[in-house]
Symmetry: C2
Subunit: 403 residues, 2 copies
């Protein structure tokens, strides 16, 4: 028997294909002309102003909703997350009547939803790891030997994480030339299609999180485009990993989709190639059945599913604390590029064009890597019975290099 579909008093939230129905309720930070950034929740084509709601006594965020990022609210912990979600669900229900401080999304500027504390990026799609490994190191050393035993990750740069819509400047950098190193504008600018998990609590230095504890610490997810300069990367990345090739910018979507909204879409991930050590074992499926893909200048280039991934965010976070490394509210954990096995499922141009050898056509033009002026957009949604949990847009356009 199917439960009656929950509908919202905000009519646009009930339209088929709307990213932000009442089942979603993602958190973000917005401002309107002449007013300061504050916390809000997306509903249909509108934003519910949480700071105003709290001022009216409609919801209790312990005073954090007037802050210009969600870190304060997130730090309040899961019981508060649950209580606020329940309150918002009542306030926005079809039969609710209380006057609400709604703002049209068209009139709002969206900001980075959190102060990103630290940013870690993983490498958890076997298809991507193998495809990129072949291109960088050849087929014999494509998949690193530890890849099926641990989530491989590296620390990225938090200061260059920006919100959707922020232009990204093509980087200058050092690359390998025929007669020694060359100083040049990047010639192989790429995207990486990822999901980013937002850490919602602190852990203690010297202690480890189990996978279950790690999952309980995740507040929610955003789309994440880890812009990558492949020519700079190839020259710099051995032996200490990618550095400036990944520091030009990382774009995230403005709305944090909560674990609670994604819960009905829980899914198993890729098939295990070998048993995992106990500290990485998951008792229940750790992924989501989530369509995810990307566009270039409006044309859909690839789509796949988050459940092609091999390690979940909870496993990545547990591994991150293996050594006793403490996690903090506002840490951002990139899933790694999400690529399915087929070309039209790849989450990076490096894979899709075989490092530039097989161009793609975009609106009639040929591309191997990203040109100045090109706009990349990411999208993701989980489709339920009669509603969709969407992430909204995550876009960035490339500005010419400052030579």
């Amino acid at each position: 028997m199917m439960a009656k579909l929950l509908r919202s008093r905000v009519a646009s939230a009930n339209e088929p294909g709307c990213d932000f129905p009442i089942q979603n309720l993602p958190y973000g930070v917005f401002s309107t002309e002449g007013s300061a950034p504050r916390c809000g929740v997306a509903i249909g084509d509108s934003i519910l102003d949480l700071a105003a709601c709290e001022a009216q006594g409609l919801v209790d965020g312990a005073g954090t909703f007037a802050q210009p990022q969600l870190n304060g609210f997130i730090a309040l912990g899961r019981p508060k997350w649950d209580a606020v979600r329940a309150a918002l669900s009542r306030l926005l229900a079809e039969d609710a009547t209380h006057e609400l401080p709604l703002v049209s999304m068209a009139d709002a500027t969206l900001h980075l939803p959190i102060k990103v504390n630290e940013f870690t990026d993983f490498y958890a799609s076997k298809n991507h790891a193998f495809n990129v490994g072949v291109l960088f190191r050849g087929p014999d050393n494509a998949l690193p030997p530890q890849w099926t035993h641990m989530p491989i990750g590296y620390n990225g740069r938090a200061s260059s994480v920006v919100v959707s819509g922020t232009p990204i400047r093509r980087p200058m950098g050092q690359i390998k030339g025929e007669n020694g190193p060359e100083w040049t504008a990047c010639r192989r600018l790429d995207l990486e299609l990822e999901l980013g998990a937002i850490v919602g609590g602190d852990s203690t230095m010297g202690e480890r999180l189990t996978v279950e504890e790690a999952e309980a610490l995740i507040f929610g997810y955003v789309l994440l485009n880890d812009w990558s300069a492949r020519d700079i990367q190839a020259w710099e990345y051995q032996p200490l990993g990618p550095f400036q090739s990944k520091a030009l910018g990382t774009t995230i979507s403005p709305w944090i989709v909560t674990q609670a909204a994604l819960e009905p879409f829980r899914s198993a991930g890729a098939e295990r190639l070998n048993p995992l050590l106990p500290y990485l074992k998951e008792d229940r499926p750790g992924f989501y059945d989530l369509d995810i893909g990307w566009t270039m200048n409006g044309q859909t280039m690839a789509r796949t599913n988050y459940n092609v991934m091999y390690y979940s965010s909870a496993q990545q976070l547990a591994h991150h604390t293996e050594s006793g490394c403490p996690m903090r509210v506002g840490d951002l954990i990139g899933s790694g590029t999400i690529s399915g096995p087929r070309r039209e499922e790849t989450g990076a141009l490096l894979e899709m064009t075989q490092a530039g050898k097989e161009p793609v056509t975009v609106n009639g033009e040929s591309r191997t890597f990203i040109h100045d002026g090109d706009e990349i957009g990411l999208f993701a949604h989980a489709d339920g019975e009669g509603y969709r949990i969407g992430f909204g847009p995550c876009t960035g356009r490339i500005l010419p290099a400052r030579t």
Copy 2:
């Protein structure tokens, strides 16, 4: 003709070999029983309470000295740094008479001097890079091909940076076993002798710093021990670099020695093996003539000089912004392990013991790597005519693993 040696009214500051004479004036954060952490300056065996000084109208820190970290003061910029240094030099001079809020260092607890925003670690000693390269990859691939062309670095974890004296827990982790991966307490726990540069200003995303601009952005330096789990590192570090092997803890010294104090000791670094690209060229010597070394359980194990390094902190910082990556006040930039060419000049046990093959003797006991209960201390000082610019202690003792 030699200038008359500046002396302090704090007698202990004038003792030969004192780390904190009036020429030094390093900044830190301290508390005493029942009082909150606040900013201070080390002078001899005492701390000048800067919050109290400001309350008495003796010095102007724009209200930042009452904060529990120096980020606020540092963000005020170089003209303010210079003005406060000049004021402190007058207040602490031998002939000054104003009553001063001095606290005995013996009665104080020293705290992390800054909120570490992000932590980046480099790899700038050719001796270390070559020695470690031989051990990890063999002599043919020891020095990466780009090493003489760019400062190789990686993003470390800021949340695990702790102040001198904080115990460090031996990490658990995944290592390569004979029949697949093994979950174990680290068996090859090591130190890394480094200097850490504190970034003193913000840079703009999408713009680059010249080496000169980068140097102007550095507030000062601390000692830095980048504890390293070599067995975990060997299994995890390809292709994305060290991760959990470096996240167990990074110890820094509590006193930030300013650029101004080190200026008289400016020195050239290691000889260049090839010309650098213009963006990395330095117009003047970028290093310091600074004795630096480490102890184990009180026994001096190695000493060398910071000027063996190949890339300066200013060059590292300039390279860090190459891609447009923005820097922030409180970013910490590790120099990389400082090793001279000889065994008694090596800044890590990995090099000193040839990955455990050649044990060393410490107080009559044999060591290859660090045992539980062992204490590692770093030290550094620049010796002028009749005074010493010292860094004070930077120690950490190892606790047994939580299995």
